[in-house]
Amino acid sequence: MAEQAAAARRFIHGRHRTLVTPEGVDLQLNLADAGQRLGAFLLDLMIMAGALVLVTIAALLLIAAIGAQGMEIGGIVWLLGFFLLRNFYFIVMEMSPRAATFGKRAVGLRVVARSGDRLTADRVIARNLMREIEFYLPLSFLAFNAAEDTGGAWTALAGFLWTLIFLLFPLFNKDRLRIGDLLAGTWVVQVPRRRLSVDSLNAAGPGPHHAFTEAQLDVYGIYELQTLEQVLRDDNPEAIASVAATIRNKIGAPDEGWDRDFLVAYYDAMRARMERGLLFGKRREDKFDRG
């Protein structure tokens, strides 16, 4: 358990990247993980595919409406639509103030220059033109192979390996960089939109009065306190019951029911004590921290 918790925290800490504002405050950006990147990309692919279907329908409607002469206009609409979608969807979206495609917005990501400078057009173009070899080239290669059925096993394997190298590239560096990110000097960070909910985690009703001794409040550290906060905000009865049982067991408190109220009272008391400790320079990271 101890190692697991420590590893989890190291993992989270390992994704922190410093970005110091001119005012001297470190914003501590969190890098997007591979799953978020993949999710955003798949969303974008679906959006592009949907847009392509719309373009195709528009082209067909044009042809149907104008007849033979519409052939040419319809063809141009389709060719240009396909070209613009394929090459400029990512570029235009990432040059907007939010520096993110629809997929990245949905997942809560944005593109940032690694140096902390502002994200300029050249970086956006560089990182997205590399999709040409990362994604489109293997894709068209595989499609060509499948259609012609001439490639044979070896070329298919080579194409597959090529795709795999670029696909897995972000997993083999600690900054989760694509080849495009590497070349553009960018990385993708999390900027989730967070709500600020009501501050006080209120007790539900007039439960028994809870009082804790100092020894009981000193069992846990900040990590456990904030995990408890998560549990209370998620407000899942089963989780609350099991957490309450665990804590009661650990601090030797009697089970008087009112699990949530017990936890809220314990959280409040523990937080008040720890925040007072912070003012005196005492910071206990977790329950294993004996400093």
């Binding site: 405050v25 944005r110 994200l119 050249d122 590399m130 070349l183 904030q226 906060e229 925040e275």
Partner: protein
Amino acid sequence: MNALPSDTRRFRAEREAEWRRLEHIVAVAEKGSVKALSDEDLLALPVLYRGALSSLSVARETSLDLELITYLEGLCTRAYFFVYGVRTTAGRRIRTFLARDWPDAVRGLWRETLAALLLTLTGVLAGYALVTSDPAWYDALMPEGMAQGRDFRASREALLSTLYGGTGQEGLSFFATYLFTHNSQLSMLCFALGFAFGVPTAMLLVYNGTTLGAILALFAARGLGLEMGGWLFIHGTTEFFAIILSGAAGIRIGWSVVFPDDGESRLDSAARAGRSAALVMGGVVAMLLTAGLLEGFGRQLVTSDLARYAIGAAMLALWLTYFYRPRPAR
């Protein structure tokens, strides 16, 4: 011991209204409508932003409310990118790109451009020499789709008609669109493949040259060299210039990965090269659009050899002066 409302709760209650106002301003701005913000909001923005930053610093030191800290981090990050982001209009950005950034980037690539030009010329010479020595090479070098019946089995008259007959009025703009998208895709591939140490880019450039050499050899063999030259020259100066530039961009990337500058990490070197090369590419697409229009419309409408050569030469002179004319230092 009672759980008293701690100081950090008061801290939060006192400032929450300001945070929410900042959140609202940033949300409006992120939708891309800075104009929708009132003057009041715009004036308040820097103050609110600095206030949120100091709240974040205080909260990190004194509060253990995880939700509060992550909220403030998110809010400050979004506000930071807006406050220190670019707020120039698209029009002005395009103007500086055309007036400064693009020609500067192209000039910075002059060595690579020369190398790409030499590679293309090598391809042209090789293609020409091979096909002249043995016409059988032609079919090997020329992809079926590109030849469109222009091969050694065709008569002189048939070849001549491909130079001036065109495809007629109909289908002109479709043809232009097709050429534009096809060439743009090729040039982007040229750029991206540069990452593999520039080798595939060089191969693409040579290959592009060989097809040109092969088709020149075919028409020269039928005594149509001059006419073929005009047919190619009208758009070719722009098109080949653009493809050579994209090849140069690819070579720059490959070179920077293999030979980073002294005291610079491979990663930084690649990132610097990638950015300047990408600037070049932004303009290359515009050049290819011009070339597509010249090829699709200009060539079909202008059938005089002299006029074709004149237009091609004028375009080349235009590009050369635009990129390489001396400019006052910045």
